[in-house]
């Protein structure tokens, strides 16, 4: 088990680190952190890779033009969106239907 084995593994969410943020994650493209909502996951991620929160969040909103998907589905609730154990999170550009 890697160094964060003390955390309860089942409550972990996997976050894909976008290329432009890998300067904060030491080049890692995936990191698992605990959290029941997107906001909590980002807080936990920021603890491991300081500076992440400032980039993806803007107060209690996501930064302009940024969306987040949980298990492949764009989270309409943004930071308040619920996150289950084993969920996969990705940061994506905002997309609209025509």
């Amino acid at each position: 088990m890697n160094h964060d084995s003390w955390r309860e593994v089942s409550a972990m969410a996997t976050v894909y680190i976008p290329s432009l943020m890998r300067d904060l994650s030491g080049g890692q493209d995936k990191i698992s952190v605990p959290g029941k909502t997107v906001a909590q996951v980002i807080e936990a991620l920021d603890a491991v890779c300081p500076g992440v929160k400032a980039r993806v969040a803007d107060g209690n909103h996501l930064a302009p033009g940024v969306a987040v998907s949980v298990d492949g589905v764009i989270a309409r609730l943004g930071l308040r969106a619920p996150v289950k154990a084993g969920s996969v999170l990705r940061f994506l550009p905002v997309i609209e239907g025509g």
Partner: protein
């Protein structure tokens, strides 16, 4: 009859008369500009003549003094804005301290007659300090460009910019190691493309009629793609309780994404409140071009590499999209369309959302997709040619399957792209001979993600066995019919038993805008769920009447049965329903989180006059996977209409600006949408790869067909006269430049 699902369909797949047909062929259908009320005043919006200027002062006194004028409003009449997004919407309703595009609304007047309102607007004195303007996306990105928003810094996941910029945001998608991918490639192509701003071109303009009741309830009749979206906009900008705002949608005379955004509703509401009279504003055609939401002009740099055996090893792209005065261009969805259909082991896409002195863009059918596909599919066509491969063969060899990972990190769901390409390869057009000088055949392929979203549908059983259907999904092109057909299929009733109608925000559940090719798909799912619930309720009523346990009652092909000899037809049971416990109705509210992408391959035959550069379309075919066609005639209509808009985008349409940022062609004479003479019959090949997450296999249909036309036509032009266009629209002048017959 389609035997995709476990049992053949009886209604889905039929070519039925549409429910809204009679009113539309007799002129009785009521559109936005057709609504009126006694005592109604007429509104007129004063718009900026400058593309970029500071507003020093606004004096409305002479306007207010003009006889027949009842109210004049400006930004001062709006509640103050809070967040940045709020301020942008606030300032785009009535300019704050700066006007950012020609046509930017500055004030509005309500008067007894339209001429008085217009004359009064001319009496409003606005003092401007004119600033330099920029409309081209690359110009706007330069360090020395005029800055639109002094407080704007470039947002990116790499951190926040440190100086004023017109680049609102930058995102990057990265997969694998592009440098290594290009090193493995035998052939590499790198090209640049410029595409013009285009407009949705709906023939019905915008119109809004606002009325306040004496107890403070605002009612707005308007032509919109989403009554709830417009209600939310009114609530947000006027700071009103949601329950006191009612939006009633009229018939919509074409929208294509351009009526997702509210332009006249807030001004009309402000005027009506101040004048204490109903106020109606209709938008003149020039203002529709100048001040609504076109689709982004853009710049692309595309680089792709492939091995001699025809496998793409790497792809890289930069997309710069002009958003207009406020951020929010569709560069994100453009990026996803770019290399969407293909497996790219090493890929990188950088997208830039750039503000310019133009109207803030809105959605236009597969927003951002068409220009991105033009860039990518031109380079793919060139790669195939350099490798000596048939264009469709090369695309098939690199095509993604379900589960493959995209450059943006997502994975493909159930997709029918390969089946579509194979159907195109086998179709009559692709195998027909094409001879004669300066003629060529081109192909292009595209995927569009489509959308699910929130929908609501209410079914009510009537005493005669008919069923009333009410949905909040505005019907842009026939979805009343396609939703009613899905309800009829689920209820196992003849379609004429269903009467569908579109409700408003006071009598239906919440719905997202009718956009993203979602309405037949997602609202259909709501209709089916409501239908299943109706059957359960009716089975319970039958059980009660027969005094048997509900589990014993079955329903099939319109007949309830108790397992013994007791039987009711749907109508027989319906007649007794009101007497046995009150009416039966059901409302289904859904938020559909997953949906099936739509793939579309187009084939174009063109002839080019080598002396004038004029392109003539000889033949055009659309091949598209629709999952399951609910109403084949309407599916063909979407394929033909979408393709023709794409053809306009390819050959004729584009905003022309002068140095001062003024649009030179804000009319249907010089903003040229295709006429009946400019396109041949559009042949259609419907492919059906059912999408498993819809009960009948339905996929979105509306947006995919607008994406491939520019690339298909560009590739056909190349085979006709041996030049590859790199600019949209591919005007005769552009082709003469490419042919070296005139200098650019």
């Amino acid at each position: 009859m389609n035997a995709q699902a476990n049992k053949p369909f009886t209604v889905v797949g039929e070519r039925l008369p549409r429910y809204d047909g009679a009113d539309k062929v007799t002129g009785k259908a009521i559109f936005g500009p057709d609504v009126a009320l006694p005592g109604m005043l007429h509104g007129f919006i004063l718009r900026s003549p400058h593309a970029h200027a500071r507003i020093l002062s606004i004096d409305t006194s002479r306007a207010e003094a003009l006889p027949g004028v009842y109210a004049v409003v400006t930004a001062a009449d709006l509640p103050p804005a809070e967040s940045t997004d709020h301020r942008y919407a606030h300032d785009n309703t009535f300019a704050g301290d700066k006007v950012l595009y020609v046509g930017h609304a500055v004030a509005a007047v309500a008067a007894r007659t339209p001429p008085i309102a217009e004359q009064a607007a001319r009496l409003i004195e606005v003092e401007y300090e004119v600033l330099p303007a920029v409309t081209d996306v690359l110009e706007a990105m330069r360090d020395d460009a005029p800055i639109l928003h002094d407080d704007m810094r470039t947002h990116s996941l790499a951190g926040r910019g440190d100086k004023p910029s017109n680049v609102a945001s930058h995102f990057q998608q990265l997969k694998g190691d592009p440098a290594r991918g290009f090193a493995e490639a035998d052939v590499i192509i790198e090209r640049e493309f410029h595409t013009a701003t285009v407009h949705q071109g709906y023939i019905e303009s915008h119109a809004a009629l606002a009325t306040w009741s004496d107890d403070g309830v605002l009612t707005v009749n308007t032509t919109t793609q989403g009554s709830f979206a417009f209600r939310d906009h009114l609530v947000w900008l006027l700071d009103l309780p949601m329950s006191k705002v009612r939006v009633i949608p009229t018939e919509v005379g074409g929208a294509f994404g351009g009526k997702n955004t509210s332009y006249l509703e807030v001004p009309a509401a402000l005027l009506a409140r101040k004048a204490r009279r109903p106020v109606k504003i209709t938008m003149p055609r020039p203002d529709v071009f100048l001040a609504t939401g076109p689709s982004s002009g853009a710049f692309f740099r595309v680089k792709m590499g492939a091995t001699r055996d025809g496998h793409i090893t790497a792809a890289q792209a930069e997309l710069c999209y002009a958003a207009g005065a406020y951020p929010g261009s569709p560069v994100g969805s453009g990026a996803n369309v770019m290399f969407g259909p293909y497996v790219i082991p090493h890929g990188q896409v950088d997208g830039y959302d750039v503000v310019t002195n133009g109207p803030r863009v809105s959605s236009y059918r597969a927003p951002g997709g068409t220009p991105a596909n033009f860039a990518a599919e031109t380079v793919i066509d060139e790669l195939a040619e350099k490798l000596g491969l048939d264009p469709i063969e090369f695309r098939l060899r690199n095509h993604a399957k379900e589960g493959d990972e995209r450059i943006d990190g997502g994975t493909h769901g159930s997709i029918g792209g390969i089946e579509v390409l194979e159907a195109a390869q086998a179709c009559d057009h692709y195998n027909a001979p094409l001879s004669g000088p300066n003629r060529g055949r081109g192909v292009a392929h595209a995927a569009w993600g489509n959308w699910g979203g929130r929908s609501s549908c209410t079914l009510s059983v009537n005493g005669d066995g008919t069923v009333s259907l009410v949905t909040s999904s505005v019907d842009l092109s026939g979805t009343r019919t396609t939703i009613a057909m899905q309800a009829a299929e689920a209820l196992e009733l003849p379609p004429e038993r269903i009467r569908p109608s579109v409700g408003d925000t006071d009598n239906t559940g919440y719905a997202d805008v009718s956009a993203g090719s979602r309405t037949t798909y997602a609202t259909g799912i709501a209709a089916i769920q409501a239908a299943e619930d109706i059957i359960v309720q009716m089975e319970a009523r039958a059980a009660a009447l027969w005094d048997v346990p509900a589990e014993r009652v079955t329903y099939a092909r319109g007949v309830f049965a108790s397992g013994t000899d007791q039987r009711f037809t749907f109508a027989e049971l319906a007649e007794q329903v009101t007497g046995s416990g009150g009416s039966v109705s059901s409302i289904a509210n859904v938020d559909v989180a997953e949906w099936g992408a739509g793939f579309s391959t187009h084939i174009a035959d063109v002839e080019v006059d080598p002396e004038t550069g004029k392109v003539t379309l000889l033949r055009y075919t659309v091949v598209q996977d629709v999952g399951q066609a609910v109403h084949p005639t309407m599916v063909e209509g979407q394929m033909q209409g979408g393709a023709t808009q794409g053809i306009g985008w390819a050959l004729y349409e584009g905003y022309a600006y002068n140095e001062q940022g003024q649009m030179l062609n804000a009319n249907f004479l010089d903003y040229k949408i295709p006429t009946a003479l400019d396109v041949p019959m559009i042949e259609t090949v419907i492919v059906e790869v059912p999408y498993p997450k819809h009960p009948f296999g339905v996929r979105g249909v509306g947006e995919p067909p607008i994406v491939p036309p520019p690339a298909a036509i560009a590739n056909a032009i190349y085979r006709a006269i041996d030049v590859r266009p790199t600019h949209l629209p591919m005007t005769p002048a552009h082709l003469l430049e490419k042919l070296g017959l005139i200098e650019s």
